[in-house]
Assembly symmetry: C2
Homo-oligomer: 258 residues x 2
């Protein structure tokens, strides 16, 4: 991902440069090139970067798109509008595939993702310097994304694919606090003992009449089966039943009422 | 998608509410509920919404998360940090699958996507009201996305999946200007005539010696074969060859030099 370059062309609002830097860093991308930005550096950029100061400080400023991409082997430009130039168009997911394929094929190569002006995007001439146009599938009636949001979507797709291809998880694992027991599902035997206990309590509280079962137990089996309780949860469920029995005056399961 | 509700909890910066509204509308989602926002309505919200005023104006303000989600059949909460609560965690793509499956299964149901505070996310209590936690796979060293950026990623995944499932394209088609010819690839015969013409010109300009072919023509066949030129492009390529011949003094292909 350190061979992915984000190029922002002629950005008007420095806040968007900061937002783009933050989105990049969130997704593990750090190389930013600014083509003729209107205001940069600027406090608004720093505020929106919200800690991605290293990306902003490392940003290179150049005068033309050509300078920004001259050493890149693959250049993708974002394009919101149909400009009636027939050109290869990809969605962000396909774009991520093209980028990572290219980086795999050419281990020294750099790839550029080019983003245009907030109000008018990339010019026809700029778009023609890109091998592919990336279109984010937005609502046709309100299609123009915020610049930093567009950077976020593309960098997110790159990170998702990079994690997938390198066999890393795309979501964090939450560590358990209590014990490993949290992760061990209840066995079938434990489930059966639970159902016996549950039915007994339902009878004791007067909710269930085994002579008129009305499909109650099968329904409850389906419900708890779907939950697939773990050991800790099973202990809780059994505890509730036992406490219910105590509350209604049954000493322990199987014993008769006092 | 009109049964997807975005819930923002206790947002500090109204600009982020505006950015979220814009991201939603870009992705075709319109229902916004604000739980106890610090400042709303606010000119900053409107500025960042950048035209998604209808989403802001339709936003409902409630006092508690409970009010925001009480009628929802599925609630997903975004969670940046490992809070050491074992809980089902999904990535944004899996989250989109869960949401659309739920909407398919229950045609009247509403689903909520819940986003926490800019600085501290959702509380443990709030997270426990969500059936699933959504984790955006960010850089572990800089993991906290801007609120509107997080809304953008989730709404983007929903739209991508919704378009895919309904058989709609995830990228726009660029209409051709010239003619339908643009889309018709050159036939094998046209390609062969081109290769004959090309070889002839390469001989004429002194670049190619058929007695010492050095694999030149196979290499060029591989190159142009990969390009798969269409009719218009083929006319251009042939035109270049003809003009080259004129420039070096060959009247037309097959004729000898003057």
């Amino acid at each position: 991902m350190n061979r992915v370059r984000v190029v922002l062309v002629n950005t008007s609002h420095p806040g968007n440069i900061g937002g783009a830097a933050r989105a990049m860093k969130n997704m593990g991308i750090s190389e930013l090139v600014l083509v003729d930005p209107e205001r940069f550096p600027d406090p608004d950029a720093r505020a929106r970067a919200s800690g991605a100061d290293d990306v902003l400080e490392g940003a290179r400023i150049v005068a033309t798109l050509e300078e920004a991409i001259s050493d890149c082997v693959l250049v993708l430009g974002t394009s919101a509008r149909d400009r009636r130039i027939p050109w290869p168009v990809v969605d962000p997911r396909e774009a991520a595939g093209l980028v990572l394929d290219q980086l795999d094929d050419a281990p020294e190569a750099t790839v550029a993702l080019v983003f245009g002006r907030e109000d008018s995007g990339l010019t026809t001439d700029e778009l023609q310097r890109c091998q592919y146009h990336v279109h984010i599938p937005s609502n046709p009636e309100f299609s123009s994304l915020n610049l930093a949001a567009a950077v976020q979507v593309l960098c997110y797709e790159l990170r998702m694919l990079d994690l997938q291809r390198s066999g890393q998880p795309t979501k964090m694992k939450k560590t358990e606090t209590t014990s490993i027991q949290n992760e061990i599902p209840a066995t079938a035997e434990e489930m059966e003992r639970f159902y016996v206990h549950l039915e007994q309590v339902l009878v004791e509280i007067g909710f269930h009449d085994p002579q008129k079962p009305r499909q109650l137990m099968p329904r409850l089996r389906r419900l708890y089966g779907r939950i697939r309780p773990n050991q800790v949860e099973m202990n809780i469920l059994r505890g509730i039943l036992t406490e219910t029995q105590k509350a209604i005056g049954v000493q322990a399961s199987g014993e008769r009422r006092r």
